[in-house]
Amino acid sequence: MTADREVKIAIIGGGPAGLAAAVSAAESGVSPEDILIIERDHVPGGILNQCIHNGFGLHTFREELTGPEYAGRFVDMAKERGIPFLLDTMAVDISRGETAGAAGKELKYLSVMNREDGFFTIGASAVVLAMGCRERPRGALNIPGFRPAGIYTAGTAQRFVNIEGRMPGREAVILGSGDIGLIMARRMTLEGAKVRAVVELMPYSGGLKRNIVQCLDDFGIPLKLSHTVVDIRGRERVEAVTIAEVGPDRRPIPGTEETFACDTLLLSCGLIPENELSHGLGVELSGVTGGPVVNESLETNIPGVFACGNVLHVHDLVDYVSEEAGTAGRCSAAYVMNPAESRGGRTVSVRCRYGVRYTVPASIRTEYMAERQIIRFRVGAVYRDACVAVDFDGKAFRRQKKRILAPGEMEQVVLGKSDMEAAGVSEITIRIEEEPQGTRQGV
């Protein structure tokens, strides 16, 4: 295979993750013209471009920005550094090559296409996967009923309203209380629609607390916890949606049905990292997150292939995406600039136990880790007054008390390189420890 064009670092996706990775790679010493951002839309920024509400950037810029403003800051940073973009361009396939590129590393071949350049191949020494995620559709939820128009994922509705200026409906029920669902409940209301209810299968919301307050409570929109949609009426356009309460087994309880007349059902029922390209390349994926399994450098099982942002695991705040992508950019730069990098050294595995669903990273090579290593994770239930416990080789290393832990919010622990080296640790365990008086909801 030959490449029509060669770069050192190819970044797939020009959303917040791809942009921050590119900026970070350039700041780490890679010449900007050796970096390339491949973006399928006609503008960079990704899904942030349709997130016109504010609340972005409190951690990164210490101010409240809208989605497009937040993206704009990173677009400007990338442009100021002269990092090239390929817009309106789709990467359709990645494969591994045998030959070494200019950086002395095994080349990966990206098949891409766009209207101007046609279908062509890019060779890259390092690839940063930053494709983001997609929304879980109705079919995957097995909601019975008719299949009329008027059923949208919350993100599709958000695009119609915020980008196209069009309304997907007049009266809506929203299933799922993830952040996009909550944001869309408010947006639909502000744009003149009536939101009958937000319905959540779990006994707790999957969204941020601040969004429940600002998007539902402030507008008097009821949040129906432990409920789900059991029927959709309407042959051509949605005419009514029936919900019912669910038991602890999450199955509907007969007799609890309630029908709302409405013309729209919005779904905010989870996000799925978009890893079709990664899968085709042979990247090992986690059964829990749906994203690649990575080490401290956010490098996948394939040397020189890194991942960050929602393609790696679904984030709650974009600030964490930017931070994580910064690490991926820095590490991809180190990879292409260090011709003699060894793959050996000591590897510490990071295990999740009680209450913790996954960790990113899943392993740490102490030789390559930064002075401070962030380990991000999510819990599987709501815990009050519980502890995040970190064990080194089965022995308690640290306990951090938390007033509340919820599946909707990403958690993190930060470990120092010196602590890990001093302990000579080979396995780190992160788990939730409930206080005797603590209460726990859900499963």
């Binding site: 359709v92 101007e116 279908f119 929304e135 079919g139 995957a140 009329p148 008027g150």
Partner: protein, 480 residues
């Protein structure tokens, strides 16, 4: 005055239309939907049955075997996806074995080639995902799968190029004799005169038949629910897996589709409402439970959509095909349930011959029997992709990322004869929105292209029927 009017643009109506187009006569198809393939033809198993199921001597047996033999040649002529993937009817005990022996004998009598009775270990060697409880199976090498949408679209396009007129949104409400011919009135006020009528109205075929014939028939909608799984399940099974048939049909099957998805279903339930295409929690659970008897470790988390089809079941259980005895010029293709998709090409030929006997017309000298499909980016190799993009830059603009469908393909689906006018129409022709995100990502882009190509506002774009509008107006237009 038309020579022939066909009621219904499903696979049967379109197959008849295409065969009629071979001769010098004026033919029209009246369809109440906005597109072809809007009823039973769009919601079925997509199976080309080998032909062992129907009782010898029935219309079903005859047309099934004939249709199965015609399908491969037709798929090349009209360029639609068809694959002879073989089928297995599996059994779990001695009673099932006797049933399979009966099917084998029946198949031989119907003229089905290559049937063999296998034991459990041989079955699992071919299909390792099958249940350990399987003790025997009927192996049917001529069993196949087809894209039911593209089969129908291909027939319709070819008929249209051959001079057949298609009228959509025309729901026939009255049908009566007028002299030697017929007059048909439609809900929108249309009036059509014709010498002959072909009744290919699916679950409504009894209504039209009974308008002109005293020999009353009755069609029961027999509901079948399905689950469709992600293409990640490709290879879960390679053959189509049937359980032993019952009086309600061929049971729940587990089959690959021609596009590499996995399809489970259908249930079988007689209902009264000819419009009741809703899925139910109980139905979907039944599909999973019964499919779980055939195969182990069903990838239940890979479900991407579910749907319901209505089989047009006649009271006598057979197809009703041919000229009504008491109504010359009125030709039925009624009670077309499974194996109706397989049989369509044969029914088309048969009815065209009967119509020609009554109303002879010379063969056209310029009939074009060949149709080319829309080039498919997803299936193309890198060289082919390069060529497609070079020829038409719109082929480089990916609209549906899950199925890798480009703007070039969508534009062609709209511009073709009998082209797509709805989102579902695009989906069935080029698979945009058919994948794992189920059109979440590409709906706005497809609407933009449709509106541009049709020269209408985006508010006018529908999913399927005229009432299936996708947008309700501009933002804030509701606020006074």
């Amino acid at each position: 005055m038309y020579d022939v009017i066909i009621i219904g643009a499903g696979v049967t109506g379109c197959a008849v239309a295409r065969e009629l187009a071979r001769r010098e006569r004026s033919v029209a198809v009246l369809e109440r939907g906005l597109d072809v393939c809007e009823g039973t033809s769009k919601a079925n198993s997509g199976i080309v049955h080998a032909g062992h199921d129907a009782h010898p001597g029935t219309w079903k047996a005859r047309f099934n075997v004939e249709g199965s033999l015609l399908m491969e040649e037709l798929s090349k002529e009209l360029d639609f996806p068809y694959r002879r993937n073989t089928s297995l009817v599996i059994g779990f005990d001695e009673e099932d074995r006797r049933t399979l022996e009966g099917l084998l004998a029946q198949g031989l009598e119907n003229g089905v080639k290559g049937l063999e009775l296998w034991d459990g270990s041989r079955v699992r060697e071919k299909e390792p995902q099958l249940s350990d409880a399987v003790t025997c199976a009927l192996y049917c090498p001529t069993g196949g799968i087809v894209d039911p949408f593209l089969l129908t679209v291909a027939l319709a396009e070819n008929a249209c190029v051959g001079g057949v007129s298609f009228f959509f949104g025309e729901e026939v409400t009255e049908l009566c004799r007028a002299g030697e011919g017929f007059v048909l009135k439609t809900a929108r006020g249309g009036s059509y005169e014709t010498r002959a009528v072909v009744n290919a109205a699916g679950v409504y075929a009894d209504v039209f038949h009974n308008m002109v014939s005293e020999d009353k028939v009755h069609i029961t909608p027999r509901k079948g629910e399905y689950l469709l799984m992600d293409k990640k399940t490709t290879g879960f099974v390679n053959a189509t897996i049937f359980q032993c048939p019952t009086k309600m049909g061929k049971g729940i099957l587990v089959t690959p589709t021609v596009h590499g998805n996995l399809l489970l279903g259908p249930t079988s339930e007689d209902i009264a409402d000819k419009e009741n295409t809703e899925t139910t929690a109980a139905g979907l659970e039944e599909v999973l439970a019964k499919a779980g008897l055939s195969a182990k470790e069903l990838p239940v988390r890979q479900v991407i959509t579910s749907f319901t089809g209505l089989r047009a079941h006649s009271d006598n259980g057979d197809f009703i095909v041919g000229e009504a005895a008491d109504c010359p010029g009125f030709f039925d293709a009624a009670g077309i349930e499974s194996p109706g998709l397989t049989s369509a090409p044969a029914i088309g030929r048969y009815l065209a011959e009967r119509i020609n006997e009554r109303f002879p017309a010379p063969e056209k000298t310029d009939f074009i029997a060949v149709r080319k499909g829309i080039p498919c980016m997803a299936d193309a190799d890198p060289e082919e992709r390069k060529r497609l993009v070079a020829e038409n830059p719109l082929y480089a603009n990916v609209v549906c990322r899950c199925e890798l469908v480009t703007e070039g393909e969508i534009v062609e689906a709209i511009r073709r004869p009998v082209g797509a006018k709805t989102l579902d129409g695009i989906k069935r022709r080029v698979r945009a929105g058919m994948g794992r995100c189920q059109a979440g990502f590409c709906t706005p882009k497809q609407m933009e292209i449709l509106a541009r190509e049709l020269g209408v506002e985006e508010e006018a774009i529908v999913k399927s029927g005229p009432g299936a509008r996708l947008l309700t107006g501009y933002t804030k237009s509701n606020i006074s």
